[in-house]
Symmetry: C2
Subunit: 226 residues, 2 copies
């Protein structure tokens, strides 16, 4: 990421992200950029969120996927609204791609907008999409060493969702190690252990979303780390 070409790319993206952020603020919509490995449970978390909070909030998802529209179809099956971006093999979303996806959405009608990024702990972190906050989604089977290995994500995220805690008894994952090393990177990081499969811990995630929404409508800033 050190070449001049890449630097220009990131600067252009930052300008596009600032425009998006202004647009989101103007419409009072809270935007979360969800970043995690392939299979960490990004779509599963959104499916649960749409099923459980669909009556409370007006929500939509921008789905980034290198190839298929499988995830968008899962969101629609859960009663949600999804706009698909196929990156054609590309490894992250950026402000320009998100901007294009907005054509399919009525921002004024939304309370919450989720950006489900491409499954990847490196590239998506570098590209601001105008979000209020980044969500680092880590799953138990990936191992408790991931905050150390991918520090930028955990440094910039407002929240670390620890999914698949139903698998804790079958792995060597230490909640304490993951939380401690992520906390060293980011003292303001909120940690939310949960299981999209069993439903355990989802209330904490829903409370987090309600707080974000409340802060936004009250005109206060999104949580630190955003």
């Amino acid at each position: 990421m050190e070449t001049p070409v890449v630097r220009n790319l990131l600067e252009n993206n930052d300008a596009g992200a600032a425009q998006l952020r202004a647009l989101f603020t103007q419409h009072g919509v809270v935007v979360l950029n969800i970043i995690g490995s392939p299979g960490a449970g990004k779509t599963a978390l959104l499916e649960r969120t749409f099923r459980d909070l669909g009556g409370t909030f007006s929500m939509a998802v921008i789905e980034g996927d290198p190839q298929t529209d499988n995830d968008a179809r899962r969101i629609v099956a859960a009663g949600g609204k999804a706009v698909q971006i196929n990156t054609g093999g590309g490894c992250h979303l950026d402000a320009a791609l998100v901007r294009k996806a907005l054509d399919g959405l009525d921002l004024a009608a939304l309370d919450l907008l989720f950006i489900e990024n491409v499954g990847n702990l490196v590239c998506p972190v570098e590209f601001d999409c105008g979000e209020d906050c980044k969500v680092a989604l880590l799953s138990v089977p990936e191992g408790d060493d991931k905050p150390e290995k991918y520090p930028l994500l955990f440094n910039l995220a407002a929240v670390m969702v620890l999914n698949k805690i139903d698998l804790l008894p079958h792995t060597d994952f230490s909640l304490e190690r993951a939380t401690r090393s992520a906390g060293r990177l980011n003292g303001n990081l909120v940690t939310l252990p949960l299981s999209c499969r069993s439903g355990e811990g989802l209330d904490g995630w829903y409370d987090f979303l309600r707080r974000l929404r409340k802060n936004k409508t009250a005109g206060t800033r999104a949580p630190a780390g955003s």
Copy 2:
């Protein structure tokens, strides 16, 4: 990946990879490029391989990691030889990085060289590192839809290692769906279900390595898909 800059980058990389491939052939070393998500078990597979085949083959690992040398230290603790490449946040290895890492290795003394790529199912696939074959390492908790979502990897790999089969009873993963959809992308793909944790299925992986080694010393080509 469609801009002229990226195209030039890939063409330059292909030239570097061709030089590496000639060098590896000259020294008769079999090179495997291991690609998988963060936490899929790339290092765990190599730890087991060094423990179990360390007396049979002379082996080394080039470790790609965005930040830490944790994985290299795990390989050394398993009795292996590891050369660390920190990509400084970069999302994949390329031929130039692998070339630099060779300074730390005596190729003539090696039977097998593993390249442990950065945890990522997208970017590493595009950058040939002169390997004999790519190993697609997928783990059960990631879900059986990954071959469909990341087709290029499964299309180009010679083998799909399905790790963490000890977690099959605790997930919805269908071995049949994963194998079928990967097989549609690549009719020659070898599928090896195993668990680095329990040891189940590792013999199949070791047989695969022995066959690769035998073919290389016999001067025949590496398996299809390489």
